[in-house]
Amino acid sequence: MWSKKAAAVAGGAIFLTLAGLIRLNYLFISAGLVMLTFVVISSFLDVWMPNVKIRRETTSDNIFEDGTMSVKFIIKNTGLGIGFVEIYDSLPPQARIIKGSNYTLLYMKPWQEVSFEYSLKLPLRGHYHLGPVKMRVKDAFDLFYNERIEESIHSFSVFPQIEVLEEQVITSRAPKLLSGAMPLNVIGTGTEFYSLREFVPGDSLRSVNWKALAKKGKMMVNETVREDVMDVILLVDAREVSAVGGGRDTPLEMSCRAAATYAKQLLDERNNVALMVYGDTIDRVDLDRGEHHLFKILTALSSAKPQGNLKLEIVMKDLLPHLPSGSPIILFSSLDDDHTIAEAFTSTISRGFTITTISPSSLDFEERMKRIPMEPLLIAKIERDNMISELRSFGLQVGDWKYGDNVNTALQEI
């Protein structure tokens, strides 16, 4: 293919030759012919496209939001093709290069292996890929070139960012066979103090509270909160309405970060965790535990896209019959555009489940983007506050998560 430069030089050369003929200027004619010869001879240099093998070495196949991934791009010429090659490794549009470059220009020789490195940062969760690789082979003077796209793809996932939770607020009324770190509101074996009672035969001397003995003059023992393994259900609202805002600042993004944080903490405490993401359908990751399960949950969270408008009541009707009774449910939702919330919560509580809501406020995003006038915004805020107060009046735990706060702050509100 002709480059712009080739067209300009050839055009200029022809013009010079013709102008020389008009003005009878031999210098113009000869200079024009020289330039034309230069272009014609260069067309013979229009080199063969080399056969290449491409591979990438990355520091990790998966990173967390705002994490850095270093990529080593290795290309090997497996043939006798030779020439100036431009290589451009396509990146996702959200990626930011923080070191090096995904582009290089090199003079490739037969059987030569070349590598270059770059580091990139991705601020948003999701599934991405590096590649395809765009190659452009050209002559030394950029007059002629050929392009090819090498379908060399390297897929990776960006998981939602995980914060460290400072406190534990989730409790259950349904003990399991295995002991864990989750406190139940019943007396049992654990480490957290619950109450004092009188010593009865059979009690361990290690549980005797010696200070209380000195004070009351009779043997008293400490009772502790029972700690057990729980089945916790994380429910993430991924309806279309959860995409209000932009970039990292949307209810869905905040919900995913919070769900990832909870999942990590709960799984670290040896609990069983399930994840349900609802939007146009319900995507499930069933109850399980362990590092591998965390990977599954994070992958599912990375896949969550804002779409559909499934109401919470329908979701609950579908889910509840399959959930272990008494399991705590943690809902991550902005609670927008859903008139079935009250009914959904009522039916959930009535079946013996506890439900905790972490609600990122979408109004904060709207306010920040200045898309709603002040008065309607104020009214909407009041309506939201009223709704949260109403839900709390049912005995529900609702965390009103403001823009800019971290998950811990939202937890403190519960």
């Binding site: 020389g20 210098l27 012919l33 020289v34 034309l36 001879i41 067309s43 013979f44």
Partner: protein, 369 residues
């Protein structure tokens, strides 16, 4: 006595990088700096050669301005180096920073204003240096007194003013011829493709408006610098010199383009608006090595292609010469000795090259095809 802790005062002398962006001049990689120097030399060569064959005395400017401007004498030996120097200094001016650039601008504007206004504004000199403490005349006590002589601006040198206006006009007309090296130098060092393109376009315009011996048709021999009409060079002489000028232009275009291309390649590793490279020392070495490999390969390619171009151009001329001078029907039927002849021969040659290209060289078909 105990000495208190010494306070390190910040130096009042500003650092050089706060005054001028000298890194832009030297660049991060010496090889790119070298390319710019070679490109500048080729620019000076090609423009000097160009003016050898396109004397400014034979230009339309001389025809229309030669009479009216006193001292009009466009000399390539003067305006080519000065034009280049002006372009280069203008680039240097652009890399000054902030207020220093403004101060420099004020100094330049003031100097220029002073140069133009100098003969028109005359300061009347007094007998004392102003102010001066002088003895009071007829004083018995040797008293002294400060004396002030008012400065008077007098517009009195009419002839000098007219000479200066002529001088400015002559310099301005020279600047028209000198703008070619000016734009070229600025384009190479500032990495501006448009300036390089403009310098070539200007060369074409000046060459197009050039008429051999035009000067003698309007002025006498003393002014033109040659007493009789210049001997017409043979067309083969013109063609031979034209080949060198053509090759010179190709070198100039290619090297300046290469300087921009490789500078842009190096630029991509820098964060926007910052001087500090994102690369570590090892990576910088690697980029430097890549640049060196690229540039050496590029120079080899350029040398080979220029040599082949030169050989082919010579072959075309000689074939044309052979055809035009040998007896036979071809010589009788076509004016091969004229400019049309050389163009015709060249086109036949290009046709042959085109046919050869059909069989030799790559044919990168789509894989699916």
């Amino acid at each position: 006595m105990e000495e208190g802790p010494t306070e390190i005062k910040p130096s009042r002398v500003p650092k050089i990088d706060k005054i001028i962006n000298y890194k832009d001049f030297f660049g991060e990689y010496p090889i790119i700096f070298a390319i710019k120097i070679i490109s500048s030399l080729s620019l000076i060569y090609v423009i000097s050669e160009f003016y050898v064959y396109h004397s400014p005395k034979d230009s339309l400017l001389t025809k229309y301005l030669g009479d009216s401007l006193k001292g009009f004498d466009p000399n390539p030996e003067v305006f080519v180096p000065w034009g280049f120097a002006a372009g280069f200094l203008f680039y240097i001016f652009t890399i000054f920073k902030g207020r220093y650039k403004f101060f420099l601008f004020l100094i330049i504007a003031g100097s220029l204003g002073g140069y133009i206004a100098d003969p028109a504004i005359d300061i009347q000199q007094g007998e004392y240096v102003i102010p001066t403490n002088t003895d009071v005349e007829n004083s018995e006590t040797n008293a002294t007194q400060w004396r002030w002589k008012p400065v008077k601006l007098v517009y009195d040198d009419v002839e000098g003013t007219n000479d200066r206006i002529d001088d400015v006009s002559v310099r301005l007309t020279n600047a028209i011829f000198g703008s070619m090296p000016f734009l070229g130098a600025y384009g190479i060092w500032k990495r501006k493709g448009w300036a390089i393109g403009a310098s070539i376009a200007l060369a074409i315009i000046i060459g197009f408006l050039y008429t051999p011996n035009l000067c003698l048709e309007n002025f006498d021999e003393t002014f033109c610098g040659y007493d009789t009409k210049q001997d017409e060079k043979t067309w083969s002489e013109y063609l031979s010199s034209g080949i060198f000028i053509g090759l010179g232009f190709v070198i100039y275009i290619e090297l300046s383009y290469a300087a921009i291309k490789y500078e842009n390649y190096a630029e991509q590793f820098k964060p926007a608006g910052l001087d500090i490279s994102l690369l570590s020392k090892a990576q910088r070495k690697s980029v430097s090595k890549t640049l060196r490999t690229l540039f050496v390969s590029y120079l080899i390619n350029l040398a080979v292609i220029l040599f082949i171009t030169f050989i082919i151009a010579e072959i075309v001329i000689n074939i044309n010469y052979y055809l035009s001078t040998s007896d036979g029907q071809i010589q009788d039927s076509i004016e091969l000795q004229g400019p049309y002849g050389i163009v015709f021969t060249s086109l036949i040659f290009f046709l042959l090259l085109g046919i050869i290209r059909m069989f030799i060289g790559p044919d990168n078909k789509m894989e699916d095809a």
